[in-house]
């Protein structure tokens, strides 16, 4: 016992290793390894197994996962790449992914790109260096060098929320097309005809699908948006939403009936802009978002939006990753999770 302890402190920081518990139980350390790892080849007599287990317990043995990874080539770690964890869409996804993977012994490494593609590439390389077993990418562009890089490196990748142009990447996304169609139909049902939109860069599948959803529905009703009713934000933030809205409001003598925003944060900016201009919502103008992030039901006015089931998306992504880790040659599939319209006060029937 004293011997074991002494040996332990002889190594770096008093860490117990297989050899220590082997010495203390009087068996070879390969035997200990077999006992402690379920699913090992040779069977062990119950007596020895029990003995070894208690000794390991007593000594407080913690397996060294790093050393194991060295042999097995599997680190049981996976990366998650997001632009900015403060964006409220990401945490529920992280939680759901972790809930699925953690019981399987995985750990999640988070990488924040800060919207910088160079940073993003560095993160990928860093994660590759760390031999992650797989990577979730929530920043996917339609043509994405990051995705290409992962394929080069042979790292299994699951795209979350967004999809690539070719759809050759395993992905779990929200049905933005359907969601935005439903929303737009509701806007029309409410009597609005002079509609403005705030869109995001069309190299993102989400932004593109949402725009298509709007345009398709409007076209069905014989409406074509003039250029001055279309604004773009570079990033989907409240600040840019505010700027874009101000531009829209001054683009024509007439105010639009409604502004359909690409997401909730942009809609928040739109509401701020309208307030600054002294406009009543929904009296003077209706506004809608997308995402149903926390507290948009509490703001003034409560925001009409489309709810994405982020928990479902994260869960499906986690399961998809497990499937791909299990059978590496699984064909890519895109899983679409339904969206749901959430009607609140910011969108109301036009009274004129």
């Amino acid at each position: 016992m004293c011997a074991a302890k002494k040996h332990a402190t002889a190594t770096r920081p008093g860490r117990i290793k297989l050899a220590d518990v082997a010495a203390a139980s009087g068996v070879h350390y390969s035997t200990v390894s077999r006992v402690l790892r379920p699913g090992s080849k040779g069977r062990i007599s119950d007596v020895v197994a029990e003995h070894v287990r208690t000794v390991a317990q007593e000594l407080g043995y913690q397996p060294n996962t790093i050393a194991a990874s060295m042999r097995t080539k599997s680190t049981r770690s996976i990366g998650l790449i997001v632009h900015d964890m403060s964006d409220p869409v990401y945490p529920p996804i992280l939680n759901a992914i972790e809930a699925v993977l953690s019981p399987e012994g995985f750990v999640v490494l988070v990488g924040n790109t800060g919207y910088d593609i160079e940073v993003e590439m560095n993160i990928i390389n860093k994660m590759a260096s760390r031999l992650v077993d797989g990577i979730f990418v929530a920043t996917t562009r339609l043509e994405d060098p990051i995705v290409a890089r992962c394929q080069d490196l042979g790292i299994p990748l699951v795209s979350v929320l967004r999809q690539t142009q070719t759809e050759e990447t395993p992905a779990v996304v929200n049905d933005c097309l359907g969601g935005m169609q439903t929303l737009t139909r509701q806007v029309l049902t409410s009597g609005h005809r002079d509609i403005a939109v705030i869109l995001a860069p069309q190299n993102l599948s989400t932004a593109r699908e949402r725009w298509w959803g709007i345009r398709h529905t409007l076209t069905e009703h014989g409406i074509v948006l003039p250029d001055h009713r279309i604004a773009f934000v570079e990033r989907m933030s409240a600040d840019e939403g505010l700027e874009a809205t101000k531009a829209l409001l001054t683009a024509d003598d007439q105010l639009p009936d409604a502004i359909i925003c690409v997401n909730d944060l942009v809609a928040i900016g739109a509401i701020r802009a309208c307030r600054e201009e002294g406009l009543k919502i929904p009296g003077d103008i209706s506004i809608s978002g997308y995402n149903d992030i926390p507290l948009v039901d509490m703001i003034d006015p409560p925001l009409t939006t489309v709810r994405m089931r982020l928990d479902k998306i994260g869960k499906a992504a986690g399961e998809l990753m497990l499937a791909h880790l299990g059978s590496p040659k699984l064909p890519a599939q895109t899983i679409r999770i339904d969206a749901e319209l959430v009607l609140r006060k910011s969108l109301q029937h036009l009274k004129r």
Copy 2:
């Protein structure tokens, strides 16, 4: 060239290793190691160094961090333990921590406890198995078995947001005592005297300090809260805030002038409860929160609260961790970051 490639594919997934680039550049692999790692012992002739570097580049060599960790006993990874990443206080902290540590080559492992202390202990053990260099704990209790366990394991720990009873843990916290004193003084200045509070479990330093801040300020003004003006939540959520508020509102014939809530989420619940009861805020009753989470400036009514500089807290925590990793025997210190009162409509002067 063909030889190198063949060798590479002989190992697992075509991964290039030191030996491969050594073979391709005609030097020994220890030389390659020295070239590629700045701060290695022996100096290398510039010619060789340059040559090796280009060869490594061409082959797309990615160092195997796992193997390196095996030697160096340092994984350059650190854990971050939170209850639930969806709580909006955590993401800014994660971001700031990552911003500080990432340039130093660290990666952040996130662990969600789901408010379950058993899960929490498993996470610690798992992280210990992965040889994390340090752990940030944002779930600290005044007496915390997790913290004790980390000390046993010899893992450097930095407590974030909260502190232990003895203050023997390196920690970065918000000055909740000062923040709540300032807020409470403002409540009194506004003319409120019949005050109710919603508190959280007193085994958390934040909850205790906030309560002390309230009580101390009230006592200074000769006010003692009767029991029926005090409610508790088990978790600081909107749902529990709503329940607690309903209990408070029915505890006496008279309504309180104001409800001071332990944090914003609880205050959100309080606002909902008041709405359900048909009470006007701040006309009938004033409400305050703590944290200044996103969008509480946009809700109806905008919430008076105290702003914690989560970015500053995260940054300081990251730097404190680096300091402790650099000099392991650094004495524990508690860094307090100032709080700032944010006055909004939900708290108004009493008109009677």
